[in-house]
């Protein structure tokens, strides 16, 4: 029984590791966005409301409501968990200095919105289809 339990835990651990190793996030933008790449600092500034432009052009950040890609994006580029991240945006909203970015349910909705809205920039899972948008390299 103990061996069975150990084996189960081992398989579960490996599965988690495998899922995490494969889950990655890419940054996408509307084709009107001139930049083809963005620095980590600039990306963080846009997605925390500190900046509204990339490469001299206005951009509008779009968020995922939740999910693996959302959590990975926050961890990789913002350095906050979801609660702290949204609290930061609400501070701007409640002091009259910003509008909460639109949050969408799922990668397909983000791709659809970014493709059809000038200046939109978002993030999705690497494996998700993303026709009609450009991928920004993060340097």
């Amino acid at each position: 029984m103990k061996k069975l339990l150990f084996a189960f835990l081992l398989v579960a651990s490996v599965s988690i590791f495998v899922v995490q190793a494969h889950a990655q996030v890419i940054v996408i933008a509307n084709n009107s966005v001139k930049a083809n790449e963005v620095s980590k600092n600039d990306l963080k500034d846009v997605f925390t409301g500190a900046s509204t432009s990339i490469g001299g052009g206005n951009v509008v950040p779009i968020l995922l409501k939740a999910g693996t890609a959302h959590e990975e994006f926050l961890q990789a580029y913002i350095g906050k968990n979801d609660a702290a991240y949204r609290a930061g945006w609400r501070s701007l909203v409640f002091s009259g200095q910003g509008t909460m970015p639109k949050s969408l349910e799922g990668d397909a909705a983000v791709v659809e919105f970014v493709a059809h809205n000038a200046g939109a920039i978002g993030y999705i899972g690497k494996a998700s289809p993303h026709e009609g948008v450009k991928v920004l390299a993060v340097k």
Binding site: N58, V60, A83, A84, V93, F94, S95, T99
Partner: protein
């Protein structure tokens, strides 16, 4: 006036209803424009071992007369133009008293990163937290350092009716970026705030208006050290208060009382470092006010100097710990009707605070905080301790427990 218990019940019902709605920001459309609805609310409890604090009856069983809430509507009309407004209400002991206010209402046009314009009733940028001091959900502490952000004097600097010019710009040579704000307008205090309440208790003065022109600015540098921001703010104002005086201090009564500031300014210097799970900040504020009082018969000067050093650490996604040391000193002088000197305990308040913040989820949290205060700062200007609710005088030192829960969406 409704009994205190029913107001507490109202606040509790508001909190429960908001939680049951799902605590999600609501969106709807007006014509083709998306309108967002956001809100926040807090409920607190304060218990002191001595002295009643912040106009609450805290020294007995403690007080739950510590509630606030805000409701916000906003719309991004175009990529460069945004409109919005917010209503705010609070009960802090005898202050606020459930008189809702228009907290802010602005049109904001931002054509370039380095140039934007806001007009309407605008939150004032002064130091790190003046414009966001109500955002309890975003702060580590249940009470911001009172030497710089006195919660009883929120109205003194929270907003102005006028306009701002603002912007940000990146500096070359990897020198970081700078942000500026310049503003002008009028200040108009809520009569349910600390200063009018103080005057009613110690001087027999009932104010019915307090405000005047204000102008100032803020400049901050996001330095090349990632996460380090330093800055400076300046506020100038010319404030007039009007009301009546009942002769309490021996000067003949004045049915058309007025007071007017001749020099009235604030300098504030600040720095903040945010590194992953850790943040530290420090600010120094000097508020100098020289004013003519008793309709020109006397004068008073209050030189208020406050500073703090504090910080916090995010242990995990449910727990944040923090602490600060807050140092408040007042140097009061004045003419007829004003005491020539004050005991040392009345001219300072040194406060050591420790906090634990528990984050339930992205909407709800609660905080537990201890305060250990040396001094009561009661000389001539509000500093949290009011004679109105301490009729037997003041103890020199006060310890306090502050519990505060809240939500935002």
């Amino acid at each position: 006036m409704r009994p205190a218990s029913s107001k507490l019940l109202t606040a509790g019902i508001f909190a429960v209803l908001s939680a049951s709605i799902g605590l999600r920001a609501q969106d709807f459309k007006i014509a083709k424009y998306d309108v967002q609805v956001h809100g926040f609310g807090t409920q607190g409890y304060v218990k002191t071992n001595d002295n009643n604090w912040l106009t609450m009856n805290t020294s007995g069983d403690g007080s739950g007369a510590f509630t606030d809430a805000g409701l916000n509507l906003g719309s991004q009309i175009t990529s460069n133009f945004r409109v919005g407004g917010q209503v705010y209400d609070r009960k802090l002991g005898k202050l606020g008293d459930w008189h809702p206010l228009l907290d802010w209402a602005t049109g904001d046009y931002h054509p370039k990163p380095w140039l934007g314009f806001r007009a309407g009733k605008v939150k004032t940028v002064l130091g790190l937290y003046t414009d966001s001091q109500d955002m309890d959900f975003a702060n580590t502490f249940a009470l911001l350092p009172q030497s710089v952000y006195p919660i009883d004097l929120r109205d003194a600097s929270i907003a102005h009716l006028g306009g701002d010019i603002y912007g940000k710009a990146k500096l070359g040579n990897n020198l970081g970026s700078v942000a500026y704000t310049a503003y002008g307008g009028r200040r108009s205090d809520n009569m349910h705030s600390g200063y009018p309440y103080l005057l009613s208790g110690i001087a027999g003065i009932t104010l019915n208006s307090y405000g005047g022109p204000v102008f100032g600015g803020d400049f901050r540098w996001n330095t090349p050290v990632r996460g380090l921001t330093v800055g400076i703010s300046r506020l100038n104002e010319m404030i007039t208060g009007k009301g009546s005086y009942n002769g309490f201090l021996g000067i003949p009564a004045q049915p058309n009382y007025w007071e007017k500031s001749k020099h009235d300014w604030t300098n504030q210097y600040y720095g903040r470092l945010v590194k992953q799970k850790f943040h530290a900040e420090s600010e120094y504020r000097r508020y100098l006010r020289y004013q003519t009082i008793f309709s020109g018969l006397s004068w008073v000067e209050t030189d208020v100097r406050g500073w703090y050093v504090g910080g916090g650490y995010t242990v995990n996604k449910w727990l944040e710990l923090g602490s600060y040391y807050s140092h408040y000193r007042i140097f009061p002088t004045g003419g007829a009707g004003v005491a020539a000197s004050y005991p040392d305990a009345q001219t300072h308040d040194f406060d050591k605070a420790v906090t634990a913040k528990f984050i339930v989820n992205k909407y709800i949290y609660f905080k537990a905080e201890g305060h250990f205060m040396d001094g009561n700062g009661t000389a001539l200007y509000p500093a949290g301790f009011y004679a109105n609710v301490n009729p037997n005088g003041f103890a020199n030192n006060t310890n306090a427990v502050v519990l505060r829960s809240g939500f935002s969406f």
